[in-house]
């Protein structure tokens, strides 16, 4: 099982190197090495690698990791194969925040901030609606997530319609790794590291939760506490991802399914594998998004275009 982690790590490194090599400007491989080891004399190359390609790749790594690990734990907590980090209403909340910011105070920072807050607020509302008698029944949570999500989508549409700012709004909604600054990458690094590690330390509890809340209680888990904590971490990871990159779909849904087929349901292995494979998929998707045609295609389009047929394939192959 350790082997599979090393294997996935190797693939990720391979894709990262590929992404450094390929771009609209051709840079010879030896020049890239020089830049990475600080021995380059070509300022242009240096800027493209250090200021453009590398931060973008790292953003892809961290966002892919965050969305995939979130998807894996949401599926465990919900015990539902439809689980997806966006099911808690985060994406719709973030969308409202983003279009609101676009309308009121356009600017990358304010859009990110509003998207982040919108996402968290949506989760909070979904959670509060689902709460009955101090408990949060999973089915109610799922349904309240869907209901709040639809409502917030309607609000997003209304704001877009009233402001007429379709182009920017839609391009944000479809998701893109854009060109993040190093400070964006640093924030994302720390949040995803903190979130993923925290979640990882609950692997055993998540394993037990997969057997149902009743069993979880009997082996000493407080399911309400665990759900609250995990949902908090998922909300943080997902909201921060969405705030930097917009709504990139299907990664959080499909990656954990693929990995569960390969490594089984044990979260001590499933979580790191999903994290690594999610990163790989995200960087690879961005590579395609940047290079398939002249202009950049939104990465959310790529992930959905490849993710949806794959999901259908999984469905047809039988159980998850």
């Amino acid at each position: 099982m350790r082997k599979i982690i090393l294997f996935l790590l190797a693939i990720l490194l391979g894709v990262i190197i590929l992404s450094l090599l390929i771009g609209s400007v051709r840079i010879p491989p030896e020049e890239i090495l020089k830049v990475l080891f600080g021995a380059s004399t070509n300022d242009n190359y240096r800027r493209i690698i250090v200021e453009v390609r590398l931060p973008r790749i790292l953003m892809g790594v961290f966002v892919g990791a965050s969305l995939s690990i979130s998807g894996a734990v949401v599926q465990a907590i919900f015990r539902n194969p439809m689980g997806d980090p966006y099911i808690l209403g985060i994406s719709s909340g973030a969308a409202v925040g983003a279009v609101l910011a676009l309308a009121l105070f356009p600017g990358l920072l304010s859009i990110s901030l509003f998207a982040f807050l919108g996402g968290l607020l949506a989760v909070f509302i979904v959670y509060e609606i689902a709460k009955t008698n101090g408990r949060v029944p999973i089915d109610t949570l799922l349904l309240s997530g869907i209901a709040v999500g639809s409502f917030l989508s309607a609000i997003t549409s209304v704001i877009m319609y009233l402001t007429g700012n379709y182009h920017n709004a839609i391009s944000w909604l479809l998701g893109s790794l854009r060109n993040p600054s190093w400070s964006d990458v640093t924030v994302m690094l720390f949040v995803s590291l903190f979130g993923s590690l925290s979640i990882y330390f609950f692997s055993r509890e998540l394993n037990a939760m997969l057997l149902g809340e009743e069993t979880a209680v009997y082996v000493g888990i407080d399911p309400e506490k665990l759900k609250k904590l995990i949902m908090g971490l998922v909300a943080l990871l997902t909201a921060i991802s969405v705030s930097f990159t917009g709504i990139i779909g299907f990664v959080g849904l499909v990656v954990p399914h693929m990995m569960r087929r390969v490594v089984g349901p044990d979260h001590t292995i499933l979580l790191p594998s999903s994290l690594l494979f999610g990163s790989t998929l995200m960087v690879l998707s961005d590579l395609l998004a940047r290079n398939i045609i002249e202009a950049e295609i939104p990465i959310g389009v790529i992930t959905a275009m490849f993710g949806a047929p794959f999901f259908i394939y999984l469905l047809k192959r039988g159980r998850f």
Partner: protein, 409 residues
């Protein structure tokens, strides 16, 4: 000791248990009996921490259980829930290791002691050889034993099991209960169960529940009475002793309707009449039988239904006196039914008596094995039987008898 006092529990705002008090000692196997919805599952869940407790106290060795953390509680009390189906393909070993969760530190790996506990639990339930197998690929009985191993890995003082034998074949049921008896040495066990006779065979004590209350409590002999069973399950039952185990054995008495109001006398023996008697009795027919030897299986059966029997001493030929009584019964009956019983010197009187009523009473002869195969009188019986048959209606099954009786009205 696990002590429960005035427990009121349920889910959300729904009350299921109303004022339940009980206590279980270590080393004791207590069975919970009761119909569906009587609160057995809720009682187990309330002790395990999965149902809401509204009122009352649960004390574990004098300490209030409800004030303990989930983790602390899981070290003392382990539960095997009713539904043990696992839809994810964990290894059996990993499932059992989950029983160590209350002891594991978040940031540390499983210790040698944890692995040792898991191995012992799996050996006790004879599942160690299944440890690498996927839980969703095991049979129902194997899976149940793995789940019990998980509960044992918790090293509990009390083990609660909710219908551990539901959906299992009879051989697995016995297997699980034999295991339970073994486990009783180190833990106190509370086990809900559907099957009254399994409870009687294995329990030290039985609690009978209905409508969220405990209606009876005590040893199987004290609790499993016909009145209690009627009160709790709303069925008529006959309590006897299981000849193999010497424990109380409860049989359900079939329900009786009052459809066919006829008097029927059945001539039978050696078990040939059981189906006929039961069916006629269920349909409300006023049945009598005779002459039967005491200890004959038809005799036993008829006696349990409180049917009028003309009886003869065990293994003795029918005396003239009894034959006369039998003929009186035939006289009173609307119909005489002759079952396909085996003919011997001892019971020929029955046929002779019947022959007297040919032409006077309606006689129904039921087909069975060829007469040659069940005549042990050297032809005399066959002759008698054939004469009766000529003056009788022949049927192939009990249903036809019922139809004839209905048609006569």
């Amino acid at each position: 000791m696990l002590e429960i006092n005035g427990l009121v529990a349920g889910y959300g705002n729904k009350i299921v248990l109303r004022d339940v008090s009980l206590s279980i000692e270590k080393g004791e196997l207590v069975c919970l009996l009761g119909p569906n919805g009587s609160g057995k599952t809720t009682l187990i869940r309330a002790i395990g921490g999965f149902a809401d407790v509204f009122k009352g106290r649960i004390l574990l060795n004098g300490k209030p259980l409800l004030e303990m953390s989930f983790k602390e509680r899981a070290k003392k009390i382990a539960v095997v829930p009713q539904n043990t189906y696992v839809e994810f393909s964990y290894r059996a070993y990993d499932i059992v290791m989950m029983g160590r969760l209350p002891y594991l530190s978040r940031f540390r790996r499983e210790s040698e002691e944890d692995r040792e506990m898991v191995r012992r639990a799996m050996e006790m339930t004879e599942t160690y050889n299944l440890r690498e197998r996927k839980i969703d690929e095991l049979s129902g009985g194997e899976r149940q034993r793995v789940i019990i191993a998980r509960a044992l890995a918790q090293d509990p003082e009390f083990l609660l099991m909710d219908e551990p034998t539901a959906h299992l074949d009879i051989n697995y049921q016995i297997e699980i209960f034999s295991l339970t008896k073994k486990l009783r040495k180190s833990t106190g066990i509370l086990c809900s169960i559907h099957d009254v006779n399994l409870a009687s065979e294995f329990a030290d004590r039985i609690l009978m529940m209905r409508d969220g209350r405990i209606l009876a409590e005590g040893s199987p002999e004290e609790v499993l009475t016909e009145e209690n069973i009627k009160r709790v399950f709303k069925i008529d039952a006959k309590v006897s002793k299981n000849p193999f185990t010497g424990r109380i054995f409860v049989s359900r008495i079939p329900k009786r309707s009052k459809r066919v109001e006829k008097r029927v006398h059945v001539i039978c023996g050696g078990g040939s009449g059981i189906e006929i008697i039961r069916k006629l009795w269920e349909e409300g027919v006023d049945v009598s039988v005779g002459v039967l030897n005491v200890l004959d299986s038809d005799h036993e059966f008829a006696r349990n239904l409180n049917i009028e029997i003309i009886e003869e001493a065990p293994f003795s030929p029918i005396s003239r006196e009894r034959a006369k009584m039998n003929e009186e019964m035939m006289e009173d009956a609307d119909v005489i039914v002759v079952a396909p019983f085996a003919l011997g010197k001892g019971n020929l009187e029955n046929l002779k008596s019947t022959l007297k009523f040919v032409g006077k009473k309606r006689i129904i002869v039921m087909d069975g094995p060829p007469i040659e195969e069940r005549d042990f009188t050297g032809g005399e019986g066959k002759k008698l039987w054939e004469k009766i048959r000529e003056g009788a209606l022949r049927v192939r099954g009990v249903e036809e008898i019922i139809k004839i009786l209905e048609g006569e009205e």
